[in-house]
């Protein structure tokens, strides 16, 4: 999808108008941010917005997140196990060390 982020009141106003006029291209809008469909028309609208507001508009392209492709099983399992922990106040670092889950520092350094 296309992620459109606006950084000024004027750009946010135009984004709102574009989203109202072309509902079909909007996957979701959150205030000054919108997710647009992955179509040429959506890209056209996003480019118009950037043409008008320049640096106040950021356009990024997202891709679907599939945890079975993006990360090892150990990361998925760690997330599930940590959310099921009994001791609510236990920080993840300690939790991971006790039970042999991935180390947070190492995860920070590993790109998807």
């Amino acid at each position: 999808m296309l992620l459109v982020v606006t950084y000024s009141r004027a750009a946010r106003g135009t984004l709102r108008n574009v989203c109202r006029t072309h509902e079909e291209v909007v996957v979701r809008r959150f205030g000054r941010v919108a997710l647009l469909a992955e179509t040429e028309f959506a890209a056209f609208q996003a480019l118009r917005l950037r043409e008008k507001h320049g640096g106040d508009v950021q356009i990024e392209r997202t891709r679907p997140f599939n945890e079975f492709e993006a990360v090892d099983a150990s990361v998925r399992e760690a997330a599930a196990a940590y959310e099921k922990r009994e001791e609510g106040a236990l920080p993840y670092t300690a939790f991971a060390a006790e039970r042999d889950h991935p180390d947070p520092e190492q995860m920070r350094e590993t790109e998807l």
């Binding site: 982020v5 950084y7 000024s8 009141r9 000054r32 320049g54 640096g55 106040d56 950021q58």
Partner: protein, 310 residues
């Protein structure tokens, strides 16, 4: 009044509110449009002397912000009532509890510098297609390698193929270097863009806060003056009907958009402009280009302001 073809007016400096004759000028019959007159009034403070290309010069007190809203009343006048009323309240020295914070936020917005966004388009364009280029040449290298291998096994002369392979391998290295450089350039530009966006985000937040404070200050000021405004609106000559008297309004006077008023704050047009003008403290002349008053003097008395009738 006329001097070198320029009409010179002196208006409304005595500050008394009795609406005597000296506070009005009737320009009907002169070929001067209302916009020209109001421009001359607003220019008076800025460059009284620089009237060279104006057919009229007006010597009068400096118009305040409320004059921007109701200083010119024509049949097609439109007024943003809340904004105009807030300006009217200010013209009488009204203040809002938000003023101090508002001044502070305005100052911070003015002081904020936002770095210009870097050029992202050129590095994006440079990077586009480099993947394909690397892929294409890589496939060519693999194919040539296969043919060299096969030729050697078949004992053929492969010197020419080897030369092609060497050339392709060199080109592959070049393409990969170019792709890496293009990626790095784009990453660098994106880091700069992030800084610029951080600053823009700070500015946007401040501007949101400023707008919010302005809204609240306006609401406060409007609240203070609203009853007076409603009374003025009801007293506008040829003015809008009250909600209850609406049935009789069918054949009312000239065509106001705001003849029927349920919410006085959405009333627009001449009535709203005149009512705001009545509650405002206007020192500079109001240019009246509508038929609501018998005489310019009546208009000046009603508005409590100097009047130029055109």
């Amino acid at each position: 009044m006329t001097e070198e073809g320029v009409l010179r007016l002196e208006l409304g400096d005595d500050g008394d509110e009795d609406g005597d004759g000296e506070r009005t000028v009737d320009l009907r019959g002169h070929d001067i449009g209302p916009k020209t007159v109001v421009a001359a009034i607003r220019a008076a403070s800025r460059d009284a002397a620089a009237s060279g290309n104006r057919p009229i010069a007006v010597d009068c007190p400096t118009p305040g912000p409320v004059h921007e809203h109701v200083g010119l009343v024509t049949p097609s006048t439109n007024v943003r009532v809340r904004t105009a009323l807030a300006a009217a309240a200010r013209s009488r020295g009204g203040e809002a509890p938000q003023d101090e914070e508002l001044a502070d936020v305005r100052e911070r917005v003015a002081d904020l510098t936002v770095p210009a966004p870097p050029d992202l388009q050129a590095p994006r364009e440079r990077l586009a297609g480099t993947d394909d280029a690397v892929e294409r040449i890589r496939e060519r290298v693999a194919a040539l390698r296969g043919r060299v291998q096969a030729g050697r096994e078949a004992d053929r002369d492969v010197s020419e193929l080897e030369a092609d392979l060497a050339e392709a391998t060199r080109e592959l290295a070049e393409r990969e270097t170019e792709r890496a450089a293009a990626r790095e350039a784009l990453e660098r530009a994106e880091r700069l863009a992030r800084e610029s966006r951080d600053a823009r985000e700070r500015r946007r937040r401040l501007e949101d806060r400023r707008a919010n404070l302005e809204r609240r200050a306006r609401a406060h000021l409007v609240g203070r003056i609203r009853e007076e405004y409603e009374a003025a609106l009801a007293a506008v000559p040829g003015g809008p009907e009250r909600a209850g008297e609406r049935s009789e309004s069918a054949e009312g006077a000239s065509g106001d958009a705001a003849r029927r008023v349920d919410d006085p704050l959405v009333a627009d047009g001449v009535c709203a402009a005149l009512a705001v003008g009545r509650v405002a403290a206007l020192r500079a002349p109001v240019v009246v280009a509508c038929d609501r008053f018998e005489t310019p003097t009546a208009a000046a008395t009603w508005l409590g302001a100097p009047v130029v009738r055109v």
